[in-house]
């Protein structure tokens, strides 16, 4: 084995009393794509932040080309040739794509004026090398997440990055976008870059990577060539136990119509969307990212107003754009973006759990600490939320536990209709199975569940019926028996006639 390009040895890192990393090792080689997998809270993000120079390790060494590397800040990491692509890139929205790429090191003309022509030209060259079509002059605002990541990658290449770290880059991408990202990653890898790829999606891990490292509870578990591993084996190492059936949807007989959506339209976003969800039914809403699925759920829930159509719950019409009324009527929405929409990160677990139910928890208009604590404790236990104290900010929890808090806060309202938007995005396998079991249980108890999901296995495993959206319109309504990857993808890409 040649000397690794980048190596971590015996790296440990603690935050207060919590040990995030303990004695971790990792070797990245030039021209190799290396996958890092583990449940949420396994320490992957901390490891990435150490490589990015955000955190300094408490113990252990990082070496580059066999020489010890001291990273005391993100600038050091960049200078050492380490580039990190995050799940949600942070670009300057009002600057052009080219300006974003060359921020802080713009090509200059005389008198230290920025040489825009050269900047544009070099940005165009980078995109040509990546084989993507992006206009260097357009502002970053409005770029899809996939395109934003490509801008970040272009920036990394322009910095001659030798190590490219991708932290769950595909979580918000659709299938086609993932393919394009992988094509870029492969070409970089083949050109001699060491790629570290972090993902919860195993098909992607095996499609891209030659080596797989598994972490659990902040410790290194194993590193093996991808060819010698199976998905089951990786999952077993991640959770340290066997995971039972991943998609345990119980068969239920659908009851009365609970949620009826008729001709729902928001100009320029979605058009004439009509469907019904019955009691005891899980209906999946599939489609590509940007097809308008989340927007439809937001309009049903009243976060956004709709321009035409109506939403009925148990036969009575919900007022347009009134979330509080929707909640009172028995509707709940677990939103797509946990950190921005699902939770108030700075508030405690308790306050978050009780927020939608704060009126119902009050007696004579007043809230009593004991009631609040009891309610939060009950739901935290029911969903097995792992938290230090319920008065700690919810931001101190791992991603999977945060998602459980979001579910807890909505299940506590005893909803008749539950809309879940990407319920398992970015959470670990163990929690994922728990969430699926929970949704299945709710349906069995007579709740109507509408599930927006970009993960086909989840859609096909969980749903009684699959609705597919394409460019703001409903293009298919496929019963479970006839739903397969092909029929859903065809409808999602607009290539199938409405079924």
């Amino acid at each position: 084995m040649p000397t690794p390009l980048l190596a971590l040895d015996g790296v440990s890192k603690s935050f207060g009393a919590v040990a995030a990393l303990r004695d971790v090792r990792l070797e990245l080689h030039a021209g190799e794509a290396h996958a890092l997998v583990g449940e949420n809270g396994a320490g992957k993000s901390t490891l990435v932040k150490i490589l990015a120079g955000v955190h300094a390790p408490d113990a252990g060494t990082v070496t580059l080309d066999g020489r010890p590397l001291l990273l005391s800040g993100p600038a050091d990491a960049r200078a050492a040739g380490i580039a990190v692509i995050y799940q949600e890139p942070t670009l300057f929205a009002d600057l052009s794509v080219a300006e974003n790429i060359f921020m802080g090191r713009q090509p200059l003309r005389s008198l230290r004026r920025v040489d825009y022509a050269a900047m544009r030209e070099r940005a165009a060259e980078l995109f040509a090398r990546l084989g993507v079509r992006l206009d260097p002059d357009r502002p970053a605002r409005g770029l899809s997440i996939a395109d934003q990541q490509l801008v970040e990658i272009a920036k990394a290449i322009s910095l001659d990055a030798r190590v490219l770290v991708m932290d769950e880059p595909t979580a918000a991408l659709s299938g086609i976008e993932v393919e394009r990202l992988f094509a870029v990653a492969r070409s970089l890898r083949d050109a001699g870059t060491a790629v570290l790829f972090i993902s919860h999606r195993f098909d992607e891990v095996f499609a891209l990577c030659q080596t797989v490292t598994v972490m659990r509870d902040g410790r290194w578990v194993s590193t093996d060539p991808a060819g010698t591993l199976t998905v089951d084996e990786v999952v077993r190492r991640m959770v340290g136990r066997e995971v039972s059936a991943m998609y345990p949807k119980q068969d239920t007989a659908p009851g009365e119509p609970r949620l009826q959506v008729r001709g729902l339209t928001r100009h320029g976003v979605f058009d004439d969307v009509t469907f019904t969800v019955h009691a005891g039914e899980i209906v999946a809403l599939a489609g590509l990212v940007g097809a308008g699925r989340s927007e439809v759920s937001r309009a049903i829930f009243g976060v956004d107003r709709h321009d035409a159509g109506e939403v009925l719950l148990d036969g009575s019409r919900l007022p347009n754009g009134d979330t509080a009324a929707a909640i009172r009527a028995g509707l709940a929405l677990v939103p797509e973006d946990r950190r921005q929409q699902g939770l108030v990160m700075e508030l405690s677990v308790e306050r978050n759990t009780n927020l939608p139910r704060r009126w119902r928890l009050s007696r004579g208009g007043l809230l009593f600490g004991g009631d609040e604590r009891r309610a939060a404790t009950t739901w935290a236990q029911r969903l097995q939320v792992k938290a230090g104290r319920l008065t700690d900010p919810v931001s101190t929890l791992s991603g999977g536990n945060q998602q459980k808090v979001v579910l807890a806060k909505w299940l506590a309202t005893a909803p008749k209709v539950l809309i879940v938007d990407e319920p398992t995005r970015g959470i670990d396998v163990g929690t994922k199975a728990e969430v699926h079991r929970l949704l299945s249980q709710l349906a069995a108890d007579g709740v109507a569940v509408l599930m927006v999901s970009s993960e086909l296995p989840e859609v096909l495993g969980m749903a009684d019926r699959v609705l597919v959206m394409h460019e703001g319109r409903l293009t298919a309504d496929i019963p479970r028996a006839r739903a397969d990857e092909q029929s859903v993808m065809l409808a999602a890409t607009g290539q199938a006639a409405a079924a």
């Binding site: 979330t323 509080a324 929707a326 929405l333 929409q341 939770l343 108030v344 928890l361 809230l367």
Partner: protein, 335 residues
């Protein structure tokens, strides 16, 4: 550490308690070193001066917690004084009617702020800087350079009447009652939970069924009405309605709110700390005046305190984190 002991330690570490302790310290040191601070007359002046600031600081605390600000409060106070004066001159002689009209005017002025902020989605900082100038200008339009000072003496003496057996004005009971109302709304009612939620993350609050815009609108209305109430008190205390009444008072209010531990970014703070800060600033200002400290120095001290209130919690947090790190590394050198 046992749970009650831990709870007491956490409580002692909160900013509200720091401000309260500072208040006690300033009062004790002042009484020992400055002639007159220990006298009942001193406290009467402190309270009289603090009443309008406290009245306006109550709704301001809630507004800043939601992430907004209302800088027009002192101008609402001034315009209320002018209109009240003009009404009195024009023959409205019923005090209850005058007070009712003043409160209504304040509520309307607040509603205008609220409408611009929530209806048109404009930043409250910009809107209320605009109405700060607009309302003050209107106050001059109504009353010009005149002063209306011929209110019946029964009104003006009643306004500053002390509680029986003390020198403390009875109006402090009104302030206390209103403080309880605002504290209950903020800390013990569902509405209050929503205020903290929207101050931290308005989008997540909306997804949890909090009506962010409507709530903020009513807060601005409340702010206008409370400023008007402060204006009524101001008119009667000084027995004088002038267009420049309370000029610059908004800065004293915002200073107290921030010193009281409310985050200017919203989402954090408590009413107790704000009331303690109103008292602290009042005692400090009056004690220093008695000690013949020049006015400019007073301004410098108030400014420094304000900066300390912003920097203080951050430095305290950093120190705590460092201490904890040292403790954990000495307890477990390797694991």
């Amino acid at each position: 550490m046992s749970e009650p002991a831990a709870r007491i330690r956490r409580a002692l570490g909160t900013w509200d308690v720091v401000v309260l302790l500072a208040l006690v310290a300033v009062a004790v040191v002042g009484a020992l070193t400055v002639d007159g601070v220990a006298s009942p007359r001193f406290w009467r002046f402190v309270v009289l001066e603090a009443i309008p600031i406290a009245l306006i600081a109550l709704p301001m605390t809630l507004i800043v917690i939601t992430g907004e600000i209302d800088l027009s409060v002192a101008s609402v106070l001034g315009l209320t004084c002018s209109v009240m004066g003009q009404l009195w001159v024009s023959g409205v002689t019923s005090l209850p009617l005058l007070i009712a009209l003043a409160l209504l005017l304040g509520a309307v002025l607040g509603a205008v702020n609220g409408l611009f902020v929530t209806g048109f989605g404009l930043p409250s900082l910009a809107v209320t800087i605009g109405t700060l100038a607009l309302y003050r200008g209107l106050a001059y339009v109504v009353l010009g350079d005149r002063a209306v000072a011929n209110y019946p003496t029964t009104w003006t003496t009643t306004a500053i009447q002390p509680l029986p057996g003390t020198t403390i004005p009875w109006m402090i009971l009104v302030v206390a009652a209103l403080a309880v109302v605002f504290a209950v709304v903020l800390h013990a009612m569902p509405v209050g939970r929503g205020l903290y939620a929207m101050g931290n993350n308005a989008e997540a609050a909306r997804f949890a069924g909090v009506d962010v815009r409507l709530t903020k609108f009513w807060l601005f209305v409340a702010s206008g009405a409370m400023s008007a109430l402060a204006g009524v008190f101001w008119t009667l205390r000084f027995a004088s309605a002038r267009a420049d009444n309370g000029s610059g008072l908004e800065l004293a209010v915002v200073a107290a709110v921030l010193l009281g531990g409310v985050s200017i970014f919203g989402g954090r703070g408590a009413l107790l700390g704000v009331l303690a800060a109103v008292a602290l600033l009042g005692v400090l200002r009056n004690a220093l005046q008695l000690a013949y400290v020049p006015a400019n120095t007073l301004t410098v001290i108030t400014g420094s305190l304000l900066i300390a209130s912003v920097v203080g919690p951050n430095v305290a947090g950093m120190l705590r984190e460092r201490l904890r790190r040292r403790r954990t590394t000495t307890v477990s050198p390797s694991s």
